[in-house]
């Protein structure tokens, strides 16, 4: 079969060299093309390849809708014309090339961004129906479906730096357990039910204030089971808080509090304060980001240029890596949830593999950003995808298989302070332009 004309390159390219290719895919049957080898012009870009695949799909099934695809050769995404790609990778053009195609990522802009009163400093998309945001006005908000604000969590006297949904196993889908950290040196815990009222946002009061940090709380993460949370602070300490046990007490205390609400405020507050279960000391500067991916281990990134791994039962530091730059964000994910992605005071998103012996060199470096990186998140299902947000106002979607960003979201006018995945196919981000932006259509297998 000859695809010179159909190949998008046009009839004028007849003279061009041809490469024999075979398209394979892991997609479902309606999107599967016959596996017979084809001859295509070698100067095709991925657009041309996408056209060919769409044409083939139309041939097999008439009601096929044209959609973009991305192509992989030997596990690397094609971002150059085919010929140059083969040349750059040293792949022989004599044999039949196996090209795997996947659905291309094409983020759609969200219609109307959710406006906040102040900078959006934190966003959590772990709940598929609600988005939790923390704001510099000290209020955390819950947005149902990413459109309407349903709950207002007011109480902090300083800007919220981190808001986190503690999704424990016992929690049902519509019962929320939320922790927020703030620059007022406290963490607050919130618990409420998802009531069906959409007319007015409901004000929620915290049921517990966790005090102990001597400087602003920078980051919060929770145990996978939801029993514990950990927080990193500017005072360079990491504190672990038991939220499971305090929950019971907290409920009682909150009842007490309601009774005593008419009493002196100081007295009431002292009643539902909590103290840290333990403190992990080791960092010498602000702990800017903290992740608790497994029950026993906590990873933390700090302004003292190090990433540390902590053993929770013993409270000891297991592993320490200096990277030479101030780190602002950290996430664990990727291949068998072992890769560390971190960004900081330079425009390079670095990914380390701690299992690699003897070297501290990053295994991947993505340097398309032009300013500090403020957030990075692995996709929870994919091994290859992660996103990063930067002060240059862009959110970038990365695939480990190529050095170029898969997609760039540049709707923000100002710095992007936080970003997360939502419902596995959307990117949510908040920034200094006080907007929460949702980009959907990021379908990743």
């Amino acid at each position: 079969m000859d695809f010179g004309v159909a190949g998008g390159a046009g009839g004028s390219e007849e003279a061009a060299r041809r490469v024999r290719v075979r398209f394979t895919t892991k997609l479902g049957p309606p999107l599967r093309v016959p596996s017979a080898p084809l001859a295509v012009p070698s100067n095709l870009t991925r657009m041309g390849l996408s056209e060919i695949v769409n044409l083939l799909l139309e041939n097999t099934c008439a009601e096929h809708e044209t959609q973009p695809f991305d192509f992989l050769i030997d596990g690397e995404l094609i971002r150059l014309p085919l010929e140059e790609f083969l040349l750059a990778k040293g792949i022989s053009a004599e044999k039949v090339l196996e090209i795997e195609y996947i659905k291309a990522v094409a983020p759609r802009k969200q219609q109307d961004p959710c406006l906040h009163d102040d900078w959006v400093s934190s966003v959590d998309g772990s709940n598929p129906s609600y988005i939790l945001t923390g704001c510099y006005d000290g209020i955390a908000r819950l947005w149902k479906g990413g459109a309407a604000c349903t709950h207002i969590l007011a109480g902090h006297s300083g800007a919220i730096t981190s808001a986190h949904i503690i999704n424990g196993k016992v929690e049902s889908e519509n019962r929320f357990h939320i922790a927020t950290g703030s620059k007022d040196r406290t963490l607050r815990l919130w618990k409420f039910d998802d009531a069906e009222h959409l007319e007015h946002p409901v004000n929620i009061r915290e049921y517990k204030i966790l005090q102990g940090h001597t400087s602003s709380v920078q980051s919060i993460s929770s145990d996978p089971s939801g029993d514990m949370i950990c927080s990193g602070s500017w005072d360079s300490s990491i504190k672990l808080w038991d939220v499971k046990n305090s929950e019971v007490q907290g409920d009682t205390v909150s009842i007490k509090k309601r009774k005593l609400v008419s009493d002196t405020a100081n007295h009431v507050e002292s009643q539902f304060e909590g103290v840290a279960a333990s403190t992990l000391v080791g960092h010498s500067q602000s702990v800017s980001s903290i992740v608790w991916p497994e029950r026993e281990t906590i990873y933390s990134a700090s302004w003292d240029h190090s990433v540390r791994q902590w053993d929770v039962p013993t409270g000891q530091e297991m592993w320490n890596m200096a990277c030479g730059k101030v780190l602002n964000c950290l996430d664990i994910g990727g291949e068998s949830s072992a890769l560390i992605a971190a960004g900081g005071s330079d425009p390079i998103l670095r990914i380390w593999d701690p299992r690699k012996p003897g070297t501290l060199a990053p295994v991947f470096q993505f340097s398309t950003h032009s300013s500090w990186i403020s957030a990075c998140k692995w996709h929870c299902k994919s091994w290859f995808h992660l996103l990063s947000a930067s002060y240059d106002g862009k959110v970038m979607l990365w695939d480990l298989r190529t050095a170029w960003p898969l997609a760039i979201v540049d709707s923000h006018k100002e710095k992007v302070l936080c970003a997360d995945w939502w419902k596995n196919d959307s990117v949510i981000s908040g920034g200094a332009d006080s907007k929460l932006l949702i980009c959907s259509g990021v379908s990743i297998q």
Partner: protein, 709 residues
């Protein structure tokens, strides 16, 4: 006859001495007499047999008896004697005694006499009448044997040689033996008897040494062997390199020219012909017609001197028309252009640079600007970073003080003071987040409200107790009045004149203010906890610019426009005086170690003082083209920086070693640009982050920039 032969022999002997004579003789012998006039002449004389002098054969008649001839004659005398004796021994019987008996005396003696000598009987022998030339010639013509006749001067007679004698003479002339019968190569007859006679001279037996190997030889061999082993004797001598030399090399540098003396300067070589001057150059050398036309547009000097052309053969190449002119020019060049020897030192300029470590090895240091802090509406005069590195305060000419969150560049709070802010300083205690601000005549101690509740209570207390005091203080000391400012909930220290700088002591209780026009009250030290003001420096030598506390000890630095004075606060006396040597000091910074000081000046110079070393500057860095506005040291990294009105900030590596013998290492690292100029002012302040290798710069363009590593 025999006498004639003898005379011939004598002539021959003469011929051996004198080539001229022999030539004549040869001619006489070989040639026919009629052929040559010269010979005829001779024959004439012979026939006449006149008593002419001995030289007449060869010489002209006009010059008889030249000294050379006489000498030769003298030689001849002995020769003749030899001959005669030889002949006598050989064939004495044939010998006829000669007529004359005068013996072997010079014939000149008889030149003027009538006789030629005496015969045996002692009678005079008369000279024969001399025939004149014509007669002798005529006589010679008739006589066929005339060529064989020789005039014998001695006896004054004509001798006719026989044919045998002529043969002998010709043989002798040819170098053969006179007689043909003599065989010069006769077989050799060995007369010696070689065979043994049976009676040896010595009957001794053959000695032993003839059969024993020679000991001397053995020693010699051993000697050689040792020499070979030691390597003194080498067999495989290195092959001599073929002597090659650089044909087109510049002989001005060749060693052989040096020995001609210092003054020898070889002439510059003319340019050698290149490929383009070939009669048949490659195509690429031949210019196109367009190029040739374009030459006409060029200046005369720039025009190419030679336009390559192609010819079929060498034969068709025309004469070079400019040959004469070029040679002439060359000659002019050679003798008119003065040739001087240029003393050029061949030093790589790179090697003169001091060896500095690579910038790469000195990382981290601030390099790129990533964050900007925007909000001020006027030039940002001063910035200060909180000791924890979380907050930054800035003061601007627009009269506002802002506190920023460094991490996100968010402006947290704004105070509008109303007057242009001159200097701002965070309290160095982390639990006391208080700002000291100098604005106009006042210094404000401002509570930022960034502490936690406990700290806030302390601060309130510290700033609150104040309320009752101002009246008392104001009454007692007129220098400064401590007043409570209700608007911002802060303390206001009212000075009499404008305050330029305010600096905290490291313990956060004392602070100092500088009032440049304050005369004897220019430098004041205040204590926050007691709300008390001191004026320890009554007399200042020069206009004060700034004053700072030592980072670890109780030492106080006051910089005036010309020099820096260092005081010990405990002993209350002057410790040291640093002479800057710059026009006007603008800023001063103390190394966290305390022994090194940098001073920025208004003429763009920065001086590094090592106080242990000397009171003169250790290094003066002249980097900025305009005024330096501020200098800063990093608290922990070996970095320092200067910022200037030329809109740049320079970052240096300044390593101070604990080893006192090692001088500080100063390496320039980076020029940070980015600010724009406004009203001729550039960067007004620079400060390092206390914990990160980052530099903040405050610009006159009302932006604060953060440069990260």
């Amino acid at each position: 006859m025999v006498a004639a032969a003898a005379a011939a022999a004598a002539a021959m002997g003469k011929s051996r001495r004198s080539s001229k004579n022999s030539d004549r003789l040869e001619q006489e012998i070989d040639e026919k007499p009629a052929a040559n006039g010269d010979v005829e002449e001779a024959s004439d004389r012979d026939e006449e047999s006149q008593p002419s002098d001995a030289a007449s054969l060869s010489e002209d008649e006009g010059s008889p008896g030249s000294p050379v001839d006489s000498e030769e004659d003298n030689w001849d005398v002995s020769d003749d004697e030899d001959h005669r004796s030889g002949e006598e021994s050989d064939s004495s019987e044939e010998e006829v005694p000669s007529r004359n008996t005068i013996g072997d005396v010079p014939l000149e003696w008889y030149k003027d006499e009538e006789h030629i000598g005496y015969d045996v009987a002692g009678r005079k022998i008369k000279k024969q009448a001399r025939r004149d030339r014509i007669e002798s010639f005529l006589a010679g013509v008739d006589d066929a044997k005339n060529w064989r006749k020789i005039y014998d001067e001695y006896n004054d007679e004509e001798v006719e040689l026989t044919k045998e004698e002529v043969k002998i003479i010709s043989r002798m002339l040819k170098g053969k033996t006179p007689h043909a019968g003599v065989d010069p190569y006769a077989p050799y007859v060995d007369w010696f008897v070689w065979d043994d006679k049976g009676h040896p001279l010595s009957n001794a037996p053959e000695p032993k040494r003839r059969f024993v190997p020679s000991k001397w030889e053995q020693k010699k061999v051993v000697q050689y062997v040792r020499a070979i082993r030691k390597g003194l004797i080498k067999f495989d001598k290195p092959k001599e390199e073929p002597h090659v030399y650089l044909l087109w090399g510049d002989d001005s540098s060749a060693a052989e020219n040096k020995r001609h003396g210092l003054s020898y300067i070889p002439a510059p070589k003319p340019k050698l012909a290149g490929h383009e001057e070939s009669y048949n150059p490659s195509v690429e050398y031949i210019p196109t017609q367009e190029e040739i036309n374009s030459y006409q547009l060029m200046y005369e000097e720039d025009r190419p001197k030679f336009i390559p052309r192609r010819f079929e053969s060498l034969r068709s190449v025309p004469a070079y028309e400019k040959a004469l002119k070029e040679n002439f020019d060359r000659c002019l060049d050679l003798y008119l252009c003065p040739r001087t020897r240029k003393k050029r030192i061949n030093i790589d300029p790179e090697s003169l640079k001091p060896k500095l470590p690579s910038r790469k090895d000195l990382r981290p240091y601030p390099r790129t600007c990533y964050l900007e802090y925007r909000g001020h509406t006027g030039p940002v005069k001063t910035i200060s970073i909180d000791i924890s590195g979380q907050w930054m305060a800035s003061g601007s000419f627009d009269g506002t003080v802002r506190v920023w969150e460094i991490e996100t560049s968010r402006c947290l709070r704004v105070w509008n003071v109303g007057e242009a802010i001159k200097h701002i300083s965070w309290n160095p205690l982390p639990e006391l987040p208080v700002l000291a601000i100098s604005a106009g005549h006042d210094v404000l101690i401002l509570d930022t409200g960034l502490g936690n509740a406990e700290e806030q209570a302390r601060i309130n207390e510290l700033l609150h107790v104040e309320e009752s005091k101002p009246e008392e203080d104001g009454g007692s000391t007129p220098v400064v009045s401590w007043v409570r400012d209700e608007k911002y909930d802060c303390i206001r220290l009212k000075h009499l004149k404008a305050v330029t700088t305010v600096e905290w002591h490291r313990k956060g209780d004392y602070f100092t203010t500088v009032v440049p026009s304050g005369d004897s009250r220019a430098i004041l030290i205040h204590q926050l906890s007691k709300k008390h003001t001191q004026n320890p420096f009554k007399k200042l030598h020069g206009l004060p610019v700034s004053a700072v506390f030592h980072p670890t000890r109780s030492i106080f630095f006051i910089s005036t426009k010309k020099n820096i004075r260092v005081y010990d606060l405990l002993k209350q006396k002057l410790v040291k005086k640093l002479e800057t040597g710059v026009r006007e000091v603008s800023s001063i910074a103390i190394h966290p170690g305390g022994d090194n000081v940098i001073v920025g000046s208004k003429d763009g110079k920065m001086c590094w003082f090592d106080m242990d070393l000397s009171s003169k500057s250790y290094k003066t860095l002249k980097a900025h083209p305009k005024d330096i506005t501020n200098v800063a040291f990093h608290r922990s990294y070996p970095l320092f920086a200067s910022c200037s009105d030329d809109c740049t900030a320079y970052v240096f590596h300044g390593m101070v070693y604990s080893d006192l013998n090692q001088n500080p290492l100063i390496v320039p690292l980076e020029i940070l640009r980015g600010h724009t100029s406004s009203d001729g002012r550039g960067v007004l302040d620079c400060k390092f982050h206390p914990r990160q290798p980052w530099l903040f710069t405050a610009g006159a363009d009302s932006i604060i920039k953060l440069y990260c590593h």
